[in-house]
């Protein structure tokens, strides 16, 4: 059904990249809501402003999160999007799907929703875009009876996410998908019932390449790493050289710690290696991570609001990461408890650590000070002493 002329949006159907406008038009064939979404969006393109209201309290029975209320500011003009809520469905680890299972969701979304999705939202959930209030509960009953659940929203644990890890990547030092799934299951209450000062995110990367951007976007970043020597296949090193790779320029000279040399074969002084992944990533056939696998635990990253962007800081340089992950869960519980006890509303854990200092945080979670936690010691002599420090 074509309800509106959309000359501005039509421009965005031109060009080689797939068009989201075409997607909304496709959904508008079947759904009044998608048709009105298109109409309201065209108006935004004309007037250069959005017309969505803040979310109100809306959700499914027994949950405080997982649904984000969204209402149009122009319900009379665009009744199809008068309410147009987001439903976050918790994605399976690694974003793998099977067609029959995914088709069930698509069919249900055509029955109850707008026919529009985001695959996926920035946090990882499958995002169902545009649900009427009265359809939320039946849609949830249907998907949950088929084995699917909602993700997190609001001041809650957000849906843990991970890279594809051991499923397809030889660099993965930990089973990211298993860990993400285990944490998701362990923290169901915290995911679905917002009860914290603000959001909290776990992101899990198998190695320092960090395909899931954990170091930039997770309150707790878990990044796979190793101890011991990088595995070398000198024959494959030779093959790279034969195929024209300039090993000195591309590998040795680009090593940030200068711990490599190459004459007739590649030598690595592993004690000086900082495990940055450059050489392994460029010589996939010849080099591999060392034998003792685990993860570094970092804390505190977030985007700019409120006091500027933060990257995660190293807290635990190395921890074994094997099921059932009790050591990690104990640590996570302590971190979250300290934050929950001390934070102001809308204060992320990184901001709280900045406000209170790293020492109180480390003491609360029972972690010793270690040089791996800093780039360099402080530049000023204004430090605190406690009586027990004086000996």
């Amino acid at each position: 059904m074509k309800k509106y002329d959309t000359p501005l949006l039509d421009e965005l159907e031109k060009g080689p990249w797939p068009s989201f406008v075409t997607e909304i038009k496709k959904a508008a064939q079947k759904h009044e809501a998608a048709a009105d979404e298109l109409g309201q969006l065209e108006k935004s393109y004309k007037t250069k402003r959005g017309y969505w209201k803040h979310g109100g309290i809306v959700g499914v029975l027994g949950y405080g999160g997982g649904v984000i209320g969204r209402y149009s500011n122009l319900p009379d003009e665009f009744p199809g999007v008068a309410h147009f809520h987001t439903v976050r469905i918790n994605q399976p680890s690694g974003f793998y799907y099977k067609s029959d299972s995914l088709r069930e969701i698509l069919d249900l979304w055509d029955k109850y929703g707008s026919g529009l999705t985001n695959m996926h939202g920035s946090t990882g959930d499958m995002v169902m875009l545009g649900c009427k209030t009265e359809a939320l509960e039946p849609f949830f009953a249907e998907i949950s009876s088929r084995g699917w659940d909602l993700g997190g929203s609001g001041s809650a644990l957000r849906t843990p996410s991970c890279c594809m890890g051991a499923s397809k990547c030889e660099w993965s030092n930990i089973d990211t998908m298993n860990l993400a799934n285990t944490l998701t299951q362990a923290y169901q209450d915290e995911l679905h019932r917002p009860m914290w000062p603000y959001k909290f995110k776990f992101k899990i990367a198998g190695c320092a390449v960090d395909c899931v951007a954990s170091i930039a976007r997770a309150d707790c970043s878990i990044i796979g790493t190793w101890r011991g020597d990088i595995q070398i296949d000198q024959g494959e090193v030779e093959n790279y050289a034969k195929q024209g790779m300039d090993i000195k320029a591309e590998i040795v000279d680009m090593c940030p710690t200068g711990c490599m040399s190459y004459e007739s074969k590649l030598e690595i002084n592993n004690a000086e290696c900082s495990r940055c992944m450059h050489c392994i990533a460029k010589m996939t056939k010849a080099l591999g991570p060392g034998p003792e696998k685990g993860a570094s635990i970092l804390i505190g990253s977030k985007a700019p609001i409120v006091v500027g962007s933060l990257l995660s800081w190293v807290v635990v340089p190395f921890m074994k990461m094997e099921p059932p992950y009790e050591e990690f869960k104990d640590l996570a519980d302590k971190m979250i408890e300290w934050w929950d006890d001390n934070a102001k509303p809308r204060e992320r854990i990184g901001e709280l650590i900045e406000a209170k200092g790293m020492r109180p945080f480390l003491e609360a979670i029972g972690v010793e000070a270690q040089p791996q936690q800093v780039y360099e010691p402080r530049k000023d002599p204004f430090f605190f002493w406690k009586d027990e420090d004086l000996g």
Partner: protein
């Protein structure tokens, strides 16, 4: 299909809570399941095709396509048809909204790729090039958006399409768009990113503030302490000199409306990355402080992005990310090479000021 369907009453009876997502093992292709955690190496075969080789000798080929992130149910069904025909019904998304089709048969790759292209999909996005853009909801669905995201992404990816399907760059270039400074995408650590910004102090509807907002929370929401109570009006007041237009007050108190179509627009940030390779993760830094919103195709934004990407492509050394290249040549050279004017907005007067002012007499002209 209908045989499996429950009635609404049955669904209600079988309704469950807190079960979490389906276990991922259910959805893993047999070759992935068999070789889980036992991979030897992987290689890029073409811009959109890679192979992962297991210690067992098994191979899995990946054919990757871009998606506009907003997908209709019908388009996903179309993708599933391809997955059924070539991949045993298995399909995977990536963290950057690409879609991956996996097969363990080398002979399938060619016909799989041809089928995807025949259906209009762009195959590419792996290796040293542009991948899909991580982005936010924009005017499509977000209350705090001050630009659109999907439209900007469409205009960007049309422009950079060659760099997705074919052309190489010195290293990968990760693009991102955020429709406000809340940044529900990793704009703050992307190679080249667009972030929407406000430039005017919010307008306060005092009547509504009185009824809808908690004054102490609204006052506390301001990172620069520009907001104070206005007891006379039972509302708040804003010290315009201190306001940096972050919009946090609007998020906790909607009647403090920061939207301003004439003055809202976008900034361009460059040089961020998340991986630790060679250099540690880096924040994106400001390249262009403001470009007005120019829907539907944001031509000035695209012009700047193109200049930055092409200057990087022709000047960076092999394997250098955008941020590494700029660090090597220096920011003064970045501005002279790109021709982007340097303004007062480029000098930090917020959180990172101390770290960013130059403390050396060694610099370039």
């Amino acid at each position: 299909m209908s045989a499996q369907w429950l009635t609404e009453t049955e669904a209600k009876e079988k309704r469950q809570t807190d079960i979490g997502p389906p276990h991922y093992e259910k959805f893993l292709p047999p070759v992935i399941k068999k070789n889980y955690g036992d991979w030897k190496y992987h290689e890029l075969l073409e811009p959109g095709v890679s192979v992962h080789v297991a210690n067992s000798g098994d191979k899995v080929f990946t054919v990757r396509i871009g998606s506009p992130r907003i997908l209709s149910t019908d388009t996903i069904r179309d993708m599933l048809e391809v997955a059924d025909k070539f991949c045993g019904g298995y399909i995977r998304w990536t963290t950057r909204n690409n879609v991956e089709f996996l097969t363990d048969k080398e002979e399938t790759v060619k016909s799989l790729k041809a089928e995807l292209q025949k259906r209009g999909y762009s195959v590419g996005g792996i290796g040293p090039r542009v991948s899909n853009v991580v982005h936010t909801q924009g005017w499509v669905h977000c209350h705090s958006a001050c630009t659109d995201a999907s439209g900007l992404v469409k205009a960007m990816m049309d422009e950079f399409h060659d760099y997705f399907v074919e052309k190489s760059l010195p290293n990968k270039v990760r693009l991102a768009v955020a429709c406000c400074v809340n940044m529900c995408g990793a704009v703050h650590c992307s190679d080249i990113a667009v972030v929407a910004v406000h430039r005017k102090v919010p307008h306060i509807d005092h009547e509504l503030v009185k009824n809808m907002c908690e004054i102490p929370t609204t006052v506390a929401s301001c990172p620069t302490r520009a907001i104070s109570p206005d007891p006379g009006k039972k509302s708040i007041k804003i010290n315009a000199d201190k306001c940096m237009y972050c919009g946090n007050c609007f998020t906790v108190c909607p009647p403090v409306d920061i939207h301003n179509p004439e003055n809202d627009g976008v900034a361009i940030m460059v040089g961020g990355k998340v991986g630790s390779l060679r250099k540690g993760p880096m924040f994106s830094k400001l390249a262009v402080p403001y470009i007005p919103n120019e829907p539907p195709r944001w031509p000035t934004v695209i012009k700047h992005l193109k200049t930055i990407l092409e200057t990087y492509a022709s000047h960076a050394r092999k394997h250098e990310r955008v941020g590494e290249w700029i660090e090597r040549i220096g920011w003064e050279r970045f501005f002279s090479l790109t021709g982007i004017p340097f303004t007062f907005q480029h000098i930090d007067d917020f959180t990172f000021m101390r770290d960013t002012l130059r403390t050396s007499a060694a610099f370039k002209y």
